[in-house]
């Protein structure tokens, strides 16, 4: 299982999903209407490392983090 966590204002509980690549995660999340507005604006981390490649392979126990637009300071 892959754990997907949604940070800050998204206000959505974590999901546990099956996926072999980040592309499969993308496919699954895009089916979720509550995320339609968020996904185009959100960055993604795998095990707390920022990632930029949809072909990133996943393994059981991986944690994916969805980061909405930020404003520190």
């Amino acid at each position: 299982m892959i754990r997907v966590e949604f940070l800050g204002p998204i206000g959505k509980k974590p999901l546990e999903i099956d996926a072999a690549t980040l592309r499969e995660v993308s496919d699954l999340l895009q089916q979720n209407e509550a995320l339609a507005d968020w996904l185009p604006k959100c960055a993604v981390a795998l095990n707390d490392m920022m990632i930029n490649d949809l072909d990133t392979p996943l393994k059981a126990g991986d944690k994916i983090t969805i980061l909405p637009p930020v404003c520190g300071g």
């Binding site: 996904l39 959100c42 960055a43 993604v44 920022m50 980061l67 637009p69």
Partner: protein, 147 residues
């Protein structure tokens, strides 16, 4: 990197960083102190922080500063910060003036763009995400790409 519940004690943090580097032979110390402005009827701002990625971001900056002989420091508030108090202090120590002036600008701007911190207006006790002032992080939209 230092995270605090609520407003920062600006003088204590400024003074401690100064003391810690008092014999490091840095010629320039530039802190940036961010204070919550009273505007739009807010009583406070409130912050969520995702610490693991903030720490990684900060560690990467410490490396970038070290390549120029400098160090960076950062403190940020978690939760509610009332107006006219401080939510954020960052700083650069450097042997030389030019490096310090250049790094504080880059460091603060990259912080605004890429530190995993979410800001909320607090109005009548309610917490409202500051969507209009927030910016997508580098690489945003990856999961929204058509396949």
């Amino acid at each position: 990197m230092e995270l605090y519940q609520g407003s920062l004690d600006v003088k204590a943090i400024f003074g401690r960083w100064l003391d810690e580097q008092s014999s490091s032979n840095y010629g320039a110390y530039i802190p940036f102190v961010g204070t919550i402005r009273a505007e739009d009827g807010i009583e406070a701002l409130s912050f969520d922080i995702y610490e693991p990625i903030l720490q990684a971001w900060f560690d990467e900056w410490q490396k970038r500063a070290a390549e120029r002989g400098a160090i960076v420091k950062m403190a940020h508030a978690i939760g509610d910060v009332p107006v006219h108090t401080s939510s954020y202090i960052s700083a650069v120590f450097s042997p030389k003036r030019r490096v310090a002036l250049e790094l504080i600008d880059l460091f603060v701007e990259d912080f605004k763009a890429n530190a995993p911190i979410w800001k909320y207006d607090v109005i009548d006790g309610k917490r409202i995400y500051a969507a209009d002032r927030s910016t997508s992080m580098d690489g945003a939209g990856l999961l929204a790409q058509s396949n």
